[in-house]
């Protein structure tokens, strides 16, 4: 047995059968991190001592209660934009370089109560702004499958940690694809739940109308278990929705007979790597063999999604990031007066992509441009949402690639922000429409890099997309492949 390579549900079973203790599992995960993280660079902060203590406490609880929560004693990696009480939380930014949160975000409170073990905080693009984890103020994370490739972003550290068996599962956030695109690049499962399904309380805000917390895991069952643990209404997040949390993992039957799946014709256009298209077409055939009914659909406003997103997201970000003024927490530079202190603190504290987005967001909200950009984008956002509503009158879920290409080379897109933005083409409209969507591995290209398939559902239909993903996963073994490190 190689404990770090276990899935969450396998590890949970072994813990209950006394084949393995949480302490052994946690120690093995840290050995794996020590052996591999100088190649991958998934983690910004490691919490070895507290993790081993949590593991010891979990082992005590496991002795007393065999029906305890499936997350009990399981080592999880956390993206470094989740506030974690007493654990440095940087958001991969210099401006929060030594910030130690005075409280836990709700998602962390929930997994702590469940008894999960926190291994550490993973790397990301600064303030979750990016698609490659290269915008981190500290270091880029590398793709465990190939060291010259990005792991995707912004949750690149969490995705790489899962793929490299440096944790059992991880948490990420997704504003425009930040869970799904790195999951696709690293060959793991990543789910962005419906907007409002998981509390955002204590998540460092980027674009508040789209930010959402979600699981990043080794298989679909793990994804369902993690979602059950973190979903639910939270009075501290007024946008979290008060709906019961279904037992997602119990609903995984593998039966998709008669389920209608839509393939949007606008998503299969030029610019897609031929091997990605090929893998997708094969995956769709397999789903058809499993009983699904495939139908071509149209999402006519797809080509406007990137423009809308980079107006709405930067506008919200420029407003959210106004709080970093060097007064109450975070980095403070020395200016000759108050205004200069603000300006220098922000100049020295933020990296180039964050500045670019603050500038863009400030511009589109500024007097004279608000109607032309921000209001216009909100109107087109309504049209994009309507496209999905119409499609979902005919189909139960939508299948697309997660990204137009497999993981690109480190440095390939850093000089051209617009090219970087275009890599989010298939994930971004889902956040604009607030829908749930999942990425899972559906093949490998000739460079042995994973290819991701995205499954999009109706609002709060996480069960449906997990079911489709599970059916596919049961018929394939892509998720069992491991990178050589």
């Amino acid at each position: 047995m190689n404990p770090p390579a276990l899935t969450l549900h396998e590890a949970a079973d072994l813990l209950r059968q006394r084949e393995l203790s949480s302490k052994q599992l946690t120690a093995a995960v840290f050995d794996r991190i020590a052996a591999t993280d100088d190649k991958v660079h998934s983690y910004i902060t490691l919490c070895r001592d507290s993790a081993l203590e949590q593991a010891k406490a979990a082992d005590e609880r496991l002795k007393q209660d065999q029906n305890s929560h499936p997350l009990l004693g399981i080592p999880l990696a956390i993206k470094d934009n989740f506030l974690t009480l007493g654990i440095r939380t940087t958001c991969a930014s210099k401006i929060l370089g030594d910030f130690i949160p005075p409280y836990d975000c709700t998602a962390i409170s929930k997994i702590r109560i469940a008894g999960a073990v926190i291994t550490g905080k993973t790397n990301l693009d600064e303030f979750a702004m990016g698609s490659s984890a290269e915008n981190s103020a500290f270091f880029p994370t590398r793709n465990p499958w190939r060291a010259d490739r990005v792991p995707g972003g912004s949750s690149g550290g969490s995705a790489a940690a899962v793929a490299a068996d440096q944790c059992i599962a991880a948490l990420g956030t997704d504003t425009g694809g930040s869970i799904r695109q790195p999951a696709g690049c690293c060959g793991i499962v990543g789910l962005k739940p419906t907007y409002g399904r998981v509390s955002r309380y204590g998540i460092i805000a980027f674009a508040s109308s789209m930010d959402q917390v979600g699981p990043m895991t080794k298989d679909v069952r793990d994804c369902a278990l993690m979602l059950e643990a973190i979903a639910g209404h939270d009075p501290a997040d007024s946008t979290s929705v008060n709906r019961p949390v279904p037992p997602y993992s119990e609903g995984l039957t593998g039966d998709i007979k008669g389920l209608r799946l839509g393939i949007p014709k606008e998503y299969f256009v030029s610019g897609m790597q031929p091997e990605v298209e090929q893998a997708l077409r094969q995956a769709v055939r397999l789903l058809e063999q499993n009983g699904a009914v495939i139908e071509e659909i149209s999402l006519p406003h797809t080509e406007y999604a990137i423009a809308v997103y980079y107006i709405v997201a930067t506008a919200e970000a420029s407003s959210n990031l106004a709080r970093y003024d060097g007064m109450r927490y975070g980095y403070r530079a020395r200016g000759k007066d108050l205004t200069e202190t603000y300006m220098l603190s922000r100049q020295e504290g933020f990296g180039p992509e964050v500045k670019r987005r603050i500038m863009l967001g400030t511009y589109v909200l500024s007097a004279g441009y608000y109607d032309a950009y921000y209001l216009k984008a909100q109107q087109v956002r309504a049209l994009i949402k309507k496209d999905f509503e119409e499609a979902f009158q005919r189909v139960d879920a939508i299948i697309t690639p997660t990204a137009p290409t497999t993981a690109f080379k480190i440095g390939e897109k850093t000089q051209d922000p617009l090219q970087m933005y275009l890599s989010d083409i298939y994930t971004i409209s889902i956040n604009l429409a607030g829908l749930p969507a999942l990425s899972l591995p559906c093949g490998f290209d000739s460079d042995a890099l994973p290819i991701g398939m995205q499954i999009i559902g109706k609002h709060f239909a996480e069960s449906t997309i997990l079911g489709v993903a599970y059916s596919y996963e049961q018929s394939t073994d892509w998720h069992k492949r491991k990178p050589q490190l």
Partner: protein
Amino acid sequence: MKLNREEIQRVAMLARLRLTAEEEERFTEQLDKILQYMDKLNQLDTSEVQPLAHAVDIVNAFREDKVTNRPNVDALLANAPARDETFFRVPKIIE
């Protein structure tokens, strides 16, 4: 050109962001290119479309206005760049 250097300086001031001359030049060029790309939205007639701020129907969430004092003052001040007992110490605001 949609953007010039003066405009970039105006926006940087609004955002309280000091930029180097090199950053001003690079952002002028990059943001100009991005804004030109965004112009594709003008291909759509949206005169009859209601703007959408949130994708999921959300109603006002009310709660009791009750003091919880969580986390406590010390925990909150622990990250302050400068503090004075139970206060944040900040540069002079009023001359």
